[in-house]
């Protein structure tokens, strides 16, 4: 269960991971102020929303920060004074049910995706072709730079989903490799 009630106050617990460090966070709100325990340290936090920007003004034990938080692929990206952090938070339920990297393992096929939006300059492979890890599959141009997109693992080219001149989005599947 994600939270509990302690002396009439609500407490929420998260299991966090940041830059390879794991931490347990206990967060409690009272009179518009937060008390947040991270592992053994406790912080008093005054947070305000900066109008229009979606940013948070944080005063943490009188230290000031301006933080922006955005979501990306299940993680939270936090930016403070130009420094970026990737944080994952799990509540009790998510924490218990999470088995290590259940997704994307044992898959029979592998997708080659565009790492950024761009225009396809050239497709370097053909359907049915055998490729090894690192073989250049597609060249995508964005902002005047040409970028080779390579096969992450060896296999046979199962499907080519783009052709020269196509405009592709970030994360769009370009080529499917059969790992068999």
């Amino acid at each position: 269960m994600e939270g509990y009630v302690k002396k009439g106050r609500r407490v929420v617990i998260y299991y966090a991971s940041i830059n390879g460090r794991d931490a347990k966070i206990k967060i409690e709100k009272k009179n518009d102020m937060y008390t947040i325990e991270i592992d053994d340290r406790s912080y008093v936090v005054d947070r305000q929303h900066l109008e229009g920007s979606g940013a948070l003004s944080l005063v943490v034990d009188n230290k000031c920060y301006e933080a922006s938080v955005t979501r990306s692929d299940g993680a939270l990206l936090v930016c403070i004074s130009g420094e970026k952090f990737e944080v994952t938070l799990k509540d009790e339920l998510e924490y218990r049910s999470a088995s290590p990297s259940a997704r994307h393992t044992g898959l029979e096929s592998e997708e080659i995706r565009a790492p950024m939006p761009g225009v396809v300059v050239c497709v370097e492979v053909e359907e049915g072709q055998r490729v090894s890890a690192g073989t250049a599959a597609v060249i995508v141009e964005a902002m005047k730079m040409q970028n080779e997109i390579s096969a992450p693992a060896g296999g046979t080219v199962k499907q080519i989903l783009v052709r020269e001149g196509d405009v592709v989005d970030s994360r769009q599947v370009l080529v499917v490799i059969d790992r068999g």
Partner: protein, 503 residues
């Protein structure tokens, strides 16, 4: 081409992005009407907001718009412009474009088509350099016909070698090749990039100097034979052979070397009868030896650092010179003061090998305050387009000393907020805090040698607990938890209460 010195009334800026805004600002300050051009992808680009008139010149790809000579000339004539400023990149070093302007009686703000085409400045520079003890890097001037020729030459010079675009600059179409086996792929991508960036696939090859520093000298020359140099810039912090950080003066140069490089640059320009702004690039190897690298017959991206140390507005000088005015500055009056540094803000992800990062800028706060200069064109809500260079801004600071300029840069970078896309800001923060950089101990291999893309805790100022606090509060307060069958959203507090059976 002698004309009575009189400022132009109307000038077309044949460019986009921050440099179009930079040139427009200079024109406005000079009381000259400014005409801009835009591709179909750029109707909402703010270079339009900074101009007096705007003309659509074609589809998004640069080859069909910003590189479309005919269309740009036609626009200049239609709008009654007396001159064209090409900025940097695109047509800035195209002798065909300069010639087309001249043929139509439009002044090309630059050295003129002959000067660009014959590369007189470059040729003379090579000659002068030899006489002055600054050697030229071994390399073929001639465009390579094929891969085999490249391999032959590379074997002659010895690996590593570097492939460069003949029409180029700015790292586009450049590839280092360290062994024959890498030549095929490098040859092909360099050629493609050169074609795409400059409309000209010609590439050439030269000996590559390991771990060099990049030093360049800015010159200005009028139409009457007067010329000055304005000190040097060091531009060694590069990724993919493209500059990321530039400064003036260079921490590697003393007054004697400054004078040698400056005077050598002027001699070359003089011998070539060069006009307008130009830059002579050198590289300094690990043993302290200078090599002549190349000549750029245009304004450089990094011109602001020279402006801040000298007080001279290079864009206005370019325009005045092209208008026929004699240079108002004498060499003895140029006394660069203090130290200036520029960080190029690219829409690239430094934690992911500097890959382009596109999308909408959801939040923007520009730094400001004493001796902080912003050269910008993007705004909150702007969608960075896929078609052009990812340079979205330049941040420049000045200080009485290099440490002061760096302290200001660090402070300004910490104020800078760009959200919605990844930028090079975290990279710049890392570099400015890095001890090697602060000591002036770096080369063009600096990024490969030192930057991992993942700042470690020692390079951080913000405690990671604060990031956890921000993330936890964001999640707890998030209203983005849609409830099935409900019309609105709810927030985590309520959500939790319900799970707990508290209401």
């Amino acid at each position: 081409m002698k004309r009575k010195p009189e400022l132009f009334k109307k000038v077309l800026v044949a460019n986009r992005g921050e440099i179009a805004v930079r040139v427009s600002r200079a024109l406005k300050e000079m009381g000259i009407e400014c005409v801009c051009v835009y591709s179909e992808a750029d109707r909402l680009s703010s270079h339009i907001a900074f101009a007096d008139e705007a003309y659509s010149i074609g589809p998004a790809p640069a080859t069909q718009s910003y590189l479309n000579i005919e269309r740009i000339i036609e626009t200049a004539k239609k709008s009654g412009c007396q001159a064209v400023h090409p900025g940097y990149g695109f047509l800035a070093e195209s002798h065909e474009f300069a010639r087309a302007c001249e043929d139509q009686g439009i002044v090309f703000i630059g050295p003129g088509s002959k000067s660009i085409e014959q590369m007189g400045f470059k040729t003379q520079a090579r000659k002068i350099m030899k006489g002055s003890g600054v050697p030229v890097i071994p390399g073929g001037e001639e465009p390579l016909s094929d891969e085999a020729e490249a391999i032959t030459l590379a074997e002659k010079f010895g690996y590593p070698v570097i492939i460069k675009a003949s029409a180029g600059g700015g790292g586009k179409g450049m590839r280092i090749v360290r062994a024959a086996g890498e030549m095929k792929s490098a040859f092909k991508t360099a050629r493609n990039e050169a074609e795409s960036a400059f409309g000209n696939p010609a590439i050439y090859i030269e000996k590559y100097i390991d771990r060099p520093r990049h030093i360049e000298v800015q010159i200005l020359a009028d139409n009457y034979g007067s010329m000055v140099y304005l000190g040097e810039r060091e531009c060694s912090i590069q990724r993919r052979y493209q500059k990321l950080i530039e400064e003036s003066p260079s921490p590697a140069i003393d007054a004697k070397k400054r004078k040698l490089l400056g005077e050598t640059a002027l001699k070359a320009a003089e011998a070539a009868g060069y006009r307008n702004a130009g830059t002579v690039e050198f590289i300094l190897d690990q043993s302290g030896r200078f090599y002549f690298l190349e000549v750029n017959t245009r304004l450089q991206v990094e011109h602001p650092v020279t402006e801040l140390t000298t007080g001279i507005d290079l864009v206005k000088e370019q325009i005045r010179i092209a208008s026929g005015f004699p240079l108002g500055i004498k060499q003895k009056d140029i006394k660069p003061e203090g130290s200036a540094i520029e960080c190029r803000i690219y829409a690239e992800d430094p934690s992911n090998d500097f890959l382009p990062s596109l999308g909408k800028i959801s939040r923007l706060r520009n730094p400001a305050g004493p001796w902080v200069r912003m050269e910008n064109y993007v705004y909150e809500g702007y969608d960075v387009p896929v078609y052009y260079d990812p340079l979205i801004a330049k941040l420049i600071t000045w200080g009485q000393t290099r440490p002061e300029a760096l302290a200001r840069m660090s402070r300004a970078l910490e104020e800078y907020v760009i959200e919605g896309i990844e930028t090079t800001i975290p990279f710049h923060i890392w570099v400015i805090r890095d001890e090697n950089f602060r000591k002036g101990d770096f080369s063009t291999s600096y990024i490969d040698e030192h930057y991992t893309g993942k700042p470690t805790d020692e390079h951080r100022k913000v405690p990671s607990d604060v990031a956890l606090i921000a993330a936890a509060i964001n999640r707890v307060e998030s209203t983005a938890v849609p409830k099935k069958g409900s019309t609105g959203t709810t927030n985590r507090w309520k959500d939790t209460s319900r799970r707990e059976g508290v209401s």
